[in-house]
Amino acid sequence: MPEPTVVESTAVNATVVAADYFQSYSVVGLLAVVGVLFVAVAFGAGRLLRPVVPTPEKLLTYECGVDPVGEGWAHTQVRYYVYAFLYVIFAVDSIFLFPWATVFAAPGYGATTLVEMFIFLGFLAVGLLYAYKKGVLAWT
C-alpha cells in the first residue's frame, strides 16, 4: 500500500504527499554532509597537527613485537558461516514485519492477520528448531 502513514492520531503528518515525504530525507542528506565535513576537517586538522616520521619497523604489521609471519589476509576457519545463513533466512523475513505491523490490527483484519502471524512465527520457530537439532548452534 502506497500510503506511508496510517496514524491519524499524530498531528505530525496529517496529509502526506510524496514531495513532503521525501523532504524529511533531504534533511538526513544535509546532516550526512555535515558529518562528512566534520570527518574531513578532523582529518585535515590532524594532518597539520601530527608528526610524520615513518620508519620501516613502525609500518610493519603488529604481531606482538615479532616479525609478522605470512600475511594478514590468511586462511582461517570460518565457523560463522552457518550463522550467516541463518541470519539471511530470518532477517529477510523480519523486514516484512514492519509494513505488516502498521496495518495488522486495523478494523476488519484482526483475527485473520493474527492467524497469519502465527503461521509466520511458526515457520521461523521451526527453522530455528531445525538448526538447533542439527547442532549448528553449539560448538562443542
Partner: protein
C-alpha cells in the same frame, strides 16, 4: 529563509549533542567505573574531579602520529573510522526528546526502520578496519564482529517490530503518541532483548569478544593510532547514547512521565537515557566477557525465541483490545 534557518539550527543542535553527549557518557564511565572498583578515576585534568580528562585525551590523540601499516589496504583503512562513526550522527536526527514538533531533529515517517537500517551500517566500519588492516588479530576481530552483528541484529529487528505492532506505526513520534503506561509490562521482554542486543551490537562488555584485549589485542582496531582510533572510540560512546535514547523512546515511553508529558517531557527523555547509560557502564564493571560460542548461543537460543514470543504476545493483546 526561515525554514533554512530552522533546519540549520536543528542540524547544529544535533551536531553539538553528537559531540558532547558521548564525552559525558565517557567521563561518567571513567568516574563510575573507578568508584565501583574502589578507585578515584581521573582527578587532575581541569581541576574539578578531572572533568577535562577526555578533552585532554582528545588533544593527545590529535597530536599522535597516524600510522598506516605498509601491508594495509590504505584507503579502506583510512576511511573505516568515518564509516563507523557517521551512522550514529544520522540516527540522532530521528530520536525525539519531547512531544512538540520542535523537539526532534526531523520527523522521519519510517523512523524505526530508518534507525535500524542506518545503525546497521556502523558495523561496516569495523569490518572494513578488520579486513583492511591485513593483520591477523584484526581479521579475527572483524570476523567476530560480523558474526556478532548477524546474531544480534535479528532480535533487535524483531523486538522493534513488536513495538511498531503495538503502536500501529513505524514513526517514532507516532509510537510515543500511542504510548500508554501499561506498555511497560506488556513490552518488557522486548525492551530487555532490544537493550541486550544493542549492547552486543556496540561490542560493549560483556559482549566485547570482538575486541577482547587480552586475547586479540584490540580486534579490528589493533593497527589504529591517533585521531582515527579516537573516532572509533567516539563511535562506541555515540553508540551508547543512541542505543539508550532508542530504548527510551521505543520501550520506556520517552517523554511520558508519571505527571504527564507537559513542559518537562524532554527532562524525562534525558533522565531515562542517562539511567540506561549508567546501566551500560554498570554492566561493563560487573560481568565477565562471554566466550564467542556462548555469545552466539545466547542470541540464537534465548534472545531470538524470546523476541518471537514477544511478537506473539503483542499480536494477541493488540487484536483482543482492538
Amino acid at each position: 529563509m526561515n525554514d533554512a534557518l530552522d533546519v540549520a539550527w536543528r542540524l547544529l543542535i544535533i551536531f553539538v549533542v553528537f559531540l558532547t553527549f558521548p564525552l559525558i557518557v565517557g567521563q561518567t564511565e571513567h568516574k563510575v567505573m573507578a568508584h565501583m572498583q574502589g578507585r578515584l578515576g581521573p582527578m587532575y585534568a581541569g581541576g574539578f574531579h578531572g572533568w577535562a580528562q577526555l578533552v585532554a585525551d582528545g588533544v593527545k590523540f590529535a597530536q599522535k602520529e597516524d600510522v598506516v601499516p605498509a601491508g594495509a589496504d590504505r584507503r579502506i583503512f583510512q576511511l573505516a573510522p568515518a564509516v563507523a562513526l557517521l551512522p550514529y550522527l544520522l540516527v540522532l536526527l530521528a530520536i525525539p526528546i519531547g512531544p512538540s514538533k520542535g523537539a526532534v531533529g526531523e520527523v522521519i515517517d519510517a523512523g524505526v526502520f530508518f534507525v535500524l537500517a542506518v545503525m546497521g551500517v556502523g558495523v561496516l566500519g569495523s569490518l572494513m578496519a578488520g579486513w583492511a588492516s591485513a593483520n591477523k588479530f584484526s581479521l579475527l576481530g572483524g570476523l567476530r564482529t560480523a558474526a556478532q552483528l548477524l546474531a544480534y541484529e535479528l532480535p533487535m529487528l524483531l523486538t522493534a517490530a513488536s513495538v511498531a505492532m503495538a503502536a500501529g506505526t513505524v514513526s517514532i513520534p507516532g509510537i510515543l503518541d500511542a504510548f500508554r503506561w501499561w506498555w511497560l509490562p506488556w513490552q518488557i521482554v522486548g525492551a530487555i532483548v532490544f537493550f541486550v542486543a544493542g549492547l552486543a551490537e556496540l561490542q560493549r562488555p560483556p559482549f566485547d569478544m570482538p575486541v577482547a584485549d587480552s586475547e586479540i589485542i584490540f580486534g579490528a582496531y589493533t593497527e589504529y593510532t591517533g585521531l582515527r582510533f579516537a573516532l572509533f572510540l567516539l563511535a562506541e560512546y555515540a553508540g551508547i547514547v543512541v542505543l539508550c535514547g532508542l530504548t527510551t523512546v521505543l520501550f520506556l515511553g520517552g517523554w511520558h512521565g508519571p505527571w504527564g508529558a507537559d513542559g518537562l517531557g524532554w527532562v524525562w527523555t534525558l533522565l531515562k537515557t542517562a539511567v540506561l547509560a549508567f546501566i551500560v557502564i554498570w554492566l561493563r564493571v560487573t560481568y565477565p566477557r562471554l566466550r564467542e560460542d556462548q555469545l552466539q548461543k545466547l542470541s540464537w537460543t534465548l534472545l531470538v525465541p524470546l523476541s518471537l514470543a514477544q511478537i506473539a504476545l503483542t499480536g494477541i493483546v493488540k487484536v483482543v483490545i482492538q
